[in-house]
Amino acid sequence: MYEHLETAANRDQLKRVVVDPVSRVEGHGKVTLLLDEHNKVQQARLHIVEFRGFERFIQGRPYWELPVLVQRLCGICPVSHHLAAAKAIDQLVGVDPANLPVSADKLRRLLHFGQVLQSHALHFFHLSSPDLLFGFESDIGKRSIIAVLADYPDIGLQGVKLRKYGQEVIRMVSGKRVHGTGAIAGGMNKALDKAERDYLLADIDQMIAWGVASVALIQKVHCANLPYYDQFATLRTNYLGLTKPDGGLELYHGGLRAKNAEGGTILDHFDYCRYNDIIHEEVRSWTYMKFPYLLALGQENGWYRVGPLARVNNCDYIDTPLAEAARVTFKAHANEAMVHSTLAFHWARLIELLHCAESIKVLLHDPDIMGTELLAQGEKRHEGIGVIEAPRGTLFHHYQIDENDIVTKANLIVSTTSNNMAMNESVRQVAAEYLSGRELTEPLLNNLEVAIRAYDPCLSCATHAVGKMPLQLELLDAEGRLIDKLVKHSDGQIGRV
């Protein structure tokens, strides 16, 4: 590991290189590198520059507003927050997961599969395929979905249409593209009618076929570049996520499972309502973002990864046949119990995309999906915890309410926070292995971004307003004087200031 690069001993005598923000990730991230006089990296950190304020945003609101309100936390995964909040407020109205009406449970799963499918499609085709198809150090003009559409038109178009299909699943189930109110406390507020079901069924076989092709593509790219792909930014870590009671891959509801780097079980079938007993969050002075860790292993050894790589590593099987076959191939390629390659996140992500497409088809053919008994009721409680597997990993929503149904306490652990330590470790590894002693160039710095991007982080859920996201690269000498500065404007133009 490269923890020795978290804090340099002689920071005052080092040059500072800033990449702000990291592009192709949600919101603002910033990588700072402190270099010595020989351009050797002495310190590398991934900063989160915007305090999220999620809990403060939620406290003081009536609980029934939450499924809609929390969608505004993130423009990329609003449905994930929507469903995690819905699961938590189910408990506030006394409805446990087992008591949710069957049709409501299946509609929520359909909604979730649609969300994960579109999110994974966006990440692979739009954000990562330019790096993977053209090379990490290719010309910046090549690294875009437009270039992919031009050079690989079929692949690019599949990405656009897979993304669109996932959005259509969300629209059919929740009634709107965004700000939908599909899930409410104790169930769902809208049934799926036959016309909507048939509309989604019309294209699902094509989506499955494209999912199969996507998995074949990433497998080909990954295996064509061994051992590089198995070594780039790779970490031997613990992994955390939900699984089914029998150990199968689970995205909506299950027990917590954690495995170590050798595949040994740290915990299994753990009730997520007791997450506070096993997960603590460490605060460090140089970043707003916390560092979660498994209490039993301590701060130093207890950090873990979440998301597609963790889920596909942790599960014993996948309950859809094409994705299961892909999982078996995926696990076999590493020749050990767990796949640790950071770039294998992409492969695992596409296995999940395929699983989502297959699962959507299964649900659309299930008569329960058009059921109209959608609400359950119970006795009011004052605390609710909802956990789901969001596209980027395990997402925790925890609320307490008072007698007037007002949220008095909220705690959220978002997926990107769980991957915070791992992303920092990957940055340090890439900085040490690929940048030390070399002149800094944009393609080299893209290697850092490639490592971060593999986790598909959602750093701040920042706004997108026109002109909000310049990329800035500064080089300062040991006295802190600016000696060079590159600015990447929001329209992509790069200029030296």
Partner: protein, 164 residues
Amino acid sequence: MPVKPVLVFACGNLSRGDDALGPLMLEAIERQQEQQAQPLELLCDFQLQIEHALDLQQRVLVLFIDACVAGASPFGFTELSPAKDNSYTTHAMSPAAVLAVYQTITKQAPPPCFLLTIKGETFGLGEKLSPAAEQNLAAAAGFVNGLLVDLTTSAWRKLIITSA
């Protein structure tokens, strides 16, 4: 379902201060729509993405509305051209980049597209619209009323604001 010939597409987040400018302008247009039926389809999303290129199909005129941080004017109005900019490298694309995606996947020029930008100042989670943004929204609303009077490309081109 038949596609309406004119699309108005607003971007933004109602709970992030002045980022709400786009959705709020769309709400104002929606209220106006209730009183006078126009051939408009109104869409809103947090941000633009690749699949939104498909929303441009079969349109004759498109208006994007978004908050902006640049310039001194309360609002701006420009005609868009497809541009292969590097907004592809974020989770949010520029309107011009969406046009470029459309052009690439359909092999056709996009329909005439215009961008209304409304100046914002603060974008924090849970923040209300800033007083300056409220004024800018009101000013832009007056301009939009003029736009909606004549839903033709030639009429909109006459209203282009050349400098911010």
